[in-house]
Symmetry: C2
Subunit: 406 residues, 2 copies
């Protein structure tokens, strides 16, 4: 069995890097803090005798050889980057649990048939450069490397510059290599498992999404002298679009998701009618058909609002992601492991995007969820129990070993 205490200790050691006063983590992708997290992870892997390679987008692969060198590797992993004010477990759990699987394999002197590789994907969160699942997306060929290198954060730093600055622009091509399977353990980030008292979520797939960048252009003007008829207030227009996003979400019932999470006002002065507002928009739904309808309806209705306000809207669709079902064989290995261990489990569709979604395009994939307190994530108060981490890790161990030895 895996060592639950060792797993927890390493999770806490990783959470020190970028720790925030409120008990969360700020380890934004490709920053100095991210570099420190990567170095700690690399050190742990090398101490186990694993070989670490880094690809051109900074994805890290730590390999443990199997008995049969002709067999394709079984992959497991997740991400070490976090939200600007994120929690200790979103991403880190899957990577550190994979490390614990490797440590347990060493302890138990198990040589698997197939090689096993542990992955730390670059920039899963998407909060810095605007594209979630960036590293796995580049690896899977969803995003051409050129395009990804050229993405810039709000300070104007490009992905390529950031990779170089922290020394993680690797030599290996960022391209999918043949692999036998991919398993990812992650916290649910939602309330379902906790509410139903389940220890394990058998993730059957992930929901569909569409993300946008929006810019509303008005005209800077004096708040005291500019009469209503002469105003072109970019923030009033943005406010009505934010309300539209919320109404479009609610029109889809409890399965709908619609969020404006990021917004900047220019010039952002109390007595100036705002001349420009830049903001993000995203919608999600388990049914891709709904996303396609949202993606037809939203630009049209937002455009009407902008026309009424006299403030032109530029809307750029960043990506549209169909719902992604996972591989039935891999999902079944998760189901069997949970059953064998006597852990209460249920099937679940992921509300969040995960690197597994892109990996699943070329590699048979499954995910394991564990509960988190109050369903809270992307929040510094994100919290799980050591026993929950251990149970998830044990399921990961069993699924990976079963697949590698089949």
């Amino acid at each position: 069995r895996v060592d639950g205490k060792r797993l927890w200790d390493s999770l806490m050691a990783m959470a020190e890097i970028g720790a925030t006063p409120k008990g969360g983590v700020r380890r934004l992708t490709l920053t100095e803090v991210d570099r420190q997290g990567r170095e700690r992870f690399r050190g742990w892997c090398e101490a186990l005798g694993l070989t670490v390679r880094v690809d051109a987008i900074g994805n890290m692969f730590a390999r443990r050889e199997g008995r049969d060198s002709t067999r394709l590797p079984v992959l497991m992993g997740s991400h070490l980057d976090s939200q600007p004010s994120g929690g200790k477990f979103d991403g880190a759990l899957g990577v550190i649990a994979g490390l614990e699987v490797m440590r347990s394999l060493n302890d138990l002197n198990i040589q698997t048939e197939a090689p096993v590789e542990l992955v730390n994907w670059t920039d899963e969160e998407g909060s810095r450069f605007g594209y979630s699942l960036m590293g796995s997306g580049a690896w899977a060929g969803v995003y051409p490397l050129e395009k990804v290198y050229g993405l810039r954060d709000v300070e104007g730093v490009s992905v390529e510059e950031a990779l170089t600055a922290i020394g993680y622009k690797g030599e290996v091509a960022a391209a999918p290599f043949p692999a036998d399977a991919y398993f990812e353990l992650h916290i649910e980030q939602g309330p379902i498992l906790e509410k139903e008292g389940k220890q394990i979520g058998i993730v059957t797939g992930a929901q569909a999404q569409v993300w946008y960048d929006a810019v509303v252009t008005g005209q800077d003007a004096h708040a005291g002298t500019t009469p209503p008829s002469a105003r072109r207030d970019a923030l009033v227009c943005a406010a009505r679009i934010i309300d539209l996003v919320d109404r479009m979400m609610r029109a889809r019932g409890e399965d709908g998701r619609g969020t404006v999470g990021q917004l900047h006002v220019l010039p952002n002065s109390r007595n100036v009618v705002p001349g420009e507002v830049r903001f993000s928009v995203e919608f999600r739904h388990p049914d891709f058909g709904e996303i396609e309808r949202l993606a037809a309806q939203f630009p049209r209705e937002a455009g009407f609002i902008a026309r009424d306000c006299g403030t032109p809207l530029k809307l750029e669709e960043l990506f549209r992601l169909p719902a992604q079902p996972f591989d039935p064989g891999c999902v079944d290995l998760v189901r069997q492991a949970a059953a064998r261990l006597g852990l209460p489990a249920r099937e679940i569709v992921s509300g969040a995007g995960h690197d597994a979604v892109y990996v699943a395009r070329s590699v048979p994939t499954a995910m394991i969820f564990t509960p988190c307190k109050d369903g809270l994530s992307h929040n510094e108060a994100e919290s799980i129990e050591p026993s929950e981490a251990e149970a998830g890790c044990q399921v990961l161990f069993e699924a990976v070993v079963a697949r590698a030895n089949r």
Copy 2:
């Protein structure tokens, strides 16, 4: 007569300090750039033999003695601080025109009966610390100095720290001293004079205002996993309040003003339901009765919205300013000067706040407006003609000399 070319050259020399690529000015109050502007101004004053003193809130007074040392001084001036993306003339025109009045008095060897003092008021704009007319407000006793010293910008720097950092926390008490009159020349910052082909606005007073700070508290949550029923989205609530401000403004017709100019989202990440939004709100109207009704209605209706959204609202009223009529005698000196010079003029109520509003509480006061292109201000494209600056300066000269020699 005043020297129009010299006036324009000095305006352009001041506009170099904090010049922006788009032709505007960024000379935020009590920054290093503001210090540079103040030093240039001080140098010009001292070259004329004026005595410069600085009070405890950084207001600068440059004095030219009169023949009769028992007479109270006649004041003139405005402000050298700017909006974050402001224009070259908002404030600077009144200060530099006052300088040109002093230069012309020297050139013409005029010794006035009463002393004349030129003032550069600290932080007229209010965009950094939240209180417009801060320096004149402290001087007039509207704001206790303790309170003003403790105000902080978004980076947490206090007014007192900023004053000390640039060496402008002066020795003289920031308190109203007896003065005979105050005259302020300013661009209109609105469209009326230009539209009617008038060169001079005879300002009879300024409209009423109320300003607020608002904080909406929701809960950071994952945008993909958090269902509509579980969301407490601070930005959706703020958006509905922004729309309310706009509707309340429009319900008052063309005299209404209602603006949310500044807004910050936390944590401001694309895939996080916003947990907190901080923003400014202000209303203005020529009739203080309307402002009192707005100030009763707005907190109530915004509170209903916040309750509906499940996101508590904290609303702090920063200040409430009655409409301020100017002194009939001083206003008449402006009217007479414009008539004598044959300049097309009209009476006008100021839509913007001005230091003159607080000074008027203890000193007989009037203002002179000049047109600006397209009525545009608080915008880098703010623009005036050299002939317009000269005409305004000549009226200022005549009004000040007439008052000082009466």
